[in-house]
């Protein structure tokens, strides 16, 4: 299904494919408030691809703020994948290619604001898009309340009230984007960058896109600064990521005797199973399957380098 694109409507052109045979439905309403355009969509699960050929790369309206009211949204942009649960919001750069996956039925409100209005750069947006904003946060809550009310009361608002509302939405959006980045900057300044990075790694072990550049972008530091933060540590960032992934893989293998190796690999961020097996073997001296058999007591003779306790 192709959705039309025009000046007052939200979004770049999108191509949507529903994920169920029938019965399928798709309800959409569009709203325009001054500088802010919104659209609310309710549908069965679908996968959506942005068709960016339609808009110039430097289009002024290139930031989208999306509230997931029900269901779940997975945004895939570059190597980055972000999962947004019902009630949370996501801020992302709509001028870079992206795809949505809604695994099941959902309701969402998408708002488009100019990046200039928000005073955000592409780098800010990339970091913002890496994690959802909870509606329980102050800024997220205020913006969610405004979006709800705006979409529901659209018909009852005079042109002048719409202008006032668009200013309110712009203020709340700016609060949200600045809040988000300021918080993180402050957090990094107060703690050690290496420690914060390890916490981040721990929270994103299942993300195949987890990398030094991704973490650096998230904490607003250069990759070089990030690596330098690990100079005094016992291991490099790359070693730490591999160690934490292997540790989680061991736990999954031991706790879930029937879980497929492929599924274990994916749960710890490896898309390529053989790569996972190789890394695991490098750390443990045996393959994941051997390790599990031994752990469960099926195999008594481990290989010479059995490296675990």
């Amino acid at each position: 299904m192709l959705l039309p694109s025009n000046a007052s409507c939200v979004l770049v052109q999108m191509e949507a494919r529903t994920l169920v045979e029938s019965p399928a439905y798709r309800r959409m309403s569009r709203h325009s408030f001054g500088d802010v355009a919104m659209s609310r969509i309710a549908s069965v699960g679908q996968s959506v691809t942005a068709l960016l050929d339609e808009i110039p790369a430097q289009a002024p309206e290139s930031t989208q703020i999306q509230l997931v009211e029900s269901g779940e949204l997975i945004l895939q942009q570059g190597a980055q994948q972000t999962k947004v649960r019902a009630g949370d919001m996501l801020v992302y750069d709509a001028s870079r290619p992206f795809e949505f996956l809604y695994p099941g039925e959902f309701t969402t409100t998408i708002m488009q604001v100019s990046s200039r209005l928000l005073d955000v750069t592409g780098g800010d947006l990339q970091a913002l898009a890496s994690r959802p904003v909870a509606s329980s946060s102050v800024a997220g809550g205020a913006l969610a309340a405004l979006l709800h009310a705006a979409v529901r009361n659209d018909a009852a608002l005079s042109p002048h009230s719409r202008e006032a509302l668009s200013r309110a939405v712009a203020d709340a959006s700016r609060l949200l984007t600045q809040d988000h980045s300021t918080r993180r900057q402050a957090r990094v300044a107060s703690g050690s960058l290496a420690r914060m990075s390890l916490e981040f790694v721990h929270d994103h072990l299942d993300d195949p896109g987890l990398s030094a550049s991704r973490i650096a972008a998230d904490f607003f530091v250069s990759v070089r600064t990030l690596h330098a933060a690990f100079e005094g540590e016992r291991e490099t960032l790359g070693q730490a990521i591999r160690r934490l992934r292997t540790a989680r893989a061991r736990r999954l293998l031991a706790d879930n005797p029937t879980m497929e190796i492929r599924a274990v690999a994916e749960s710890v961020g490896y898309l390529d199973v053989s790569n996972f097996i190789r890394t695991f073997k490098g750390a443990e001296g045996m393959t994941p399957a051997q390790w599990r058999r031994r752990q469960l007591g099926y195999e008594t003779h481990g290989p010479a380098r059995g490296g675990h306790a």
Partner: protein, 200 residues
């Protein structure tokens, strides 16, 4: 917890706390705000979120949300003036109209009392007389609103570099950084960004 659709009654003191001036306050406080539809529903939604939300706002967040509510309340006053100006004090009505022009163009360096009067089709003198009963003259109202917004934008910045200060000054319609710095210092006694910004 606030009932979602009950009419919203805000006392004069509440309205003053949100930063509304005397004329805006008089018109908004004159009758309850209908929260079943329109702007009233929007304001009620934001206030409810603020009072029920689990997150504890920082000082800066509280102030930013205060600005949002102030803008919406002031738009309610404007709607009342548009709907029935006859029953209202003409000076108050004029101030409310002027405030909407000001809110809409706060980021525009060309916003002056003369520009506001021109937009409303009245003389600067008439505008000044109407503002006579509020605490501040028109130009002062514009300047202090800009400074207040800039100050709050800088509040949560852990590191206010000269570039950040310059961007914030520009965002709120200050012509040039040094102008912003001087106005800020006059108003608050300290420089924006706690002295990291150098003169000129």
């Amino acid at each position: 917890m606030r009932d979602a659709t009950a009419p919203l009654v805000l006392a004069t003191d509440d309205l003053r706390d949100f930063g509304l001036n005397a004329s805006e306050t008089a018109i908004v406080a004159a009758q309850p705000i209908d929260t079943s539809a329109g702007l009233g529903a929007v304001i009620s939604g934001v206030l409810r979120q603020l009072s029920d939300g689990s997150a504890r706002p920082t000082g800066a967040e509280r102030a930013q949300i205060g600005f949002i509510v102030r803008g919406l309340l002031s738009a309610v006053a404007y709607e009342r003036v548009e709907a029935d100006a006859a029953g209202l004090d003409p000076h108050d009505a004029l101030v409310v109209r002027a405030m909407q022009v000001i809110y809409a163009s706060l980021d525009d360096p060309l916003l002056t009392s003369r520009a506001v009067a021109a937009r409303l089709g009245i003389s600067v003198r008439t505008l000044q007389v109407a503002f006579g009963r509020t605490a501040q003259p028109v130009s002062e109202t514009i300047r202090s609103l800009r400074l207040e917004r800039a100050r709050v934008d800088l509040m949560d910045q852990p590191d206010s570099t000269p570039a950040v200060c310059a961007a914030v000054g520009r965002r709120w319609g200050f012509h040039g950084t040094s102008h912003f710095v001087r106005a800020f210092e006059r108003q608050y006694g300290v420089r924006p960004g706690a002295g990291v910004i150098s003169r000129d």
